[in-house]
Amino acid sequence: MTAGEVIAFRSAGKVFPDGTEAVRDISFELRAGEFLSIVGPSGCGKSTLLRMASGLGPATSGEVARKVENIGSVFQDATLLPWRTVRQNVELLAELEGAAPTERARLATEAIRLVGLDGFESHHPKALSGGMRMRTSVARALTMKPPLFLLDEPFGALDEITRGTLNEELMRLFVSERFAAIFITHSIAEAVYLSSRVLVLSPRPGRIVAEIEIPFAYPRSPELRFDPEFARLSSEVSHALRETYA
């Protein structure tokens, strides 16, 4: 392992017990401060890849070497506990990890402030919009200060405007908290805007068909989306994606 490496896939593959091969021969490394997006057609094993990364669904061939235990997970749905308030939801992970109540409260207050949910601590998820639920989910993951974030299409279910706002907030968090991230998305623009690198997967079994560096410096402004270079990189990702169908 090289310095700063958080996780590495080495020819990792996954075959389910029923014989379905989900992903094949995946190799990449991720270092602290890197933001890696994975795009690919539906059913190409993107979520399987995340489960291999978290250890919830281990690789059946090759190796996934993870240097950190502490992982922040954000799912497509906010996956909050509806009977808990925002604050109680954000405190959940620290609670499961056995942190003292005062410590839990401190971590939660900080995370809630980071995602801009001050004032909504005592609301139940039922009373929140989709975007605010997702912020709560991100705050929950932030409490444990994970060096590695795994995000499984977190903004896929949100409307375009909310999605844009949350992209910028995630960017801001990434810059200030300096974690490494694996981000799964269907949106090429989202991938290029947020990432330092984009991996394009083929249809099942998912293999890496392109690896595209996105060299823009962080923090990036929303206007970057109108930069000609941004357009060029987006079309490069788009081409690679289209070729996977050929």
């Binding site: 919830l56 997970s73 996956t79 506990l81 509806p82 009977w83 992970l93 499961l96």
Partner: protein, 261 residues
């Protein structure tokens, strides 16, 4: 508000009026005076059952006795049923091992096990409560189990990633998640428990009378007007149990539960 009231309250009132009218029609037109006891006119039912002190007192006492049996029944059915569901939720093989027997308890006609219950538990309060438990436990088991097992797999993953123990998973994730489903089961069970109490009173005749025995007694003396009064209290008890459980369930979950999710 008044329009809503009119929409909700008026139709059943109209239907009630029609039923009462039909009862009068049958009682006075189709039945000869000597056979009128088969369907006494509604005002006789009301007057004899609810406006004669001794009768009203007898019926209210019986209703209260029946209520005690059915409440004891549902509380015990809840404790045992929820416990069984929790045990079943812990491993697929336990669920497979126990489920067939839960179904057997459900499908066995209650009257068929009455003799056995009598032999084991006597002819008293205990035996009546046992009938209530047997008749009402199945919906509690199945609905609780459903709620415990239907938790979002992503939430299970989250608990796994943060090394939650089996107990934490149960107490912090599965049980709260199951509360709305538990109350669905309890609401069905509440109505069944009242039925169980009355059936029990029919057969286990020691101790307090209860509505079941009163109904049987009125039948024996052909006191149809009083029989119908007692029937009213039986319905009343069923409705109140159903509504009370529903009310408690909504109070517990109204802050967070989203119907249809």
């Amino acid at each position: 508000m008044s329009r809503r009231l009119a929409r909700v309250v008026l139709p059943p009132l109209v239907a009630l009026g029609l039923f009462v009218g039909l009862a009068y029609l049958v009682s006075y037109v189709f039945l000869s005076p000597s056979r009128r006891f088969l369907l006494p006119p509604p005002h006789d039912v009301v007057a004899h059952s609810f406006f004669r002190g001794a009768n009203l007192h007898e019926q209210l006492n019986a209703t209260w006795d029946t209520a005690k049996v059915s409440i004891a029944g549902i509380v015990i059915a809840f404790v045992i049923g929820a416990t069984i569901a929790i045990v079943m939720s812990q491993a697929k093989w336990i669920e497979r091992a126990l489920y067939p027997y839960a179904v057997i308890v459900q499908v066995t006609p209650i009257l068929a096990i009455v003799p056995l219950i009598a032999l084991w538990f006597g002819y008293n309060f205990t035996a009546r409560v046992v009938v209530c438990v047997l008749i009402s436990i199945f919906p509690i088991i199945t609905n609780t189990l459903f709620g415990l097992l239907r938790v979002d797999p992503n939430l299970h993953d989250l608990f796994t990633l943060h090394r939650a123990s089996r107990f934490e998973r149960l107490v912090k994730l599965q049980l709260p998640h199951a509360i709305p489903d538990i109350f669905v089961g309890l609401r069905i069970a509440a109505g069944l428990s009242v039925i169980g109490a009355i059936v029990g009173e029919f057969f286990f005749r020691q101790g307090t009378p209860g509505l079941g025995r009163l109904l049987d007694q009125y039948r024996a003396f052909l006191e149809t007007d009083l029989l119908m009064g007692a029937l009213f209290w039986a319905c009343f008890l069923g409705i109140v149990s159903f509504a009370a459980v529903g009310f408690v369930g909504r109070r517990l979950t109204r802050n967070w539960y989203e119907e249809g999710r």
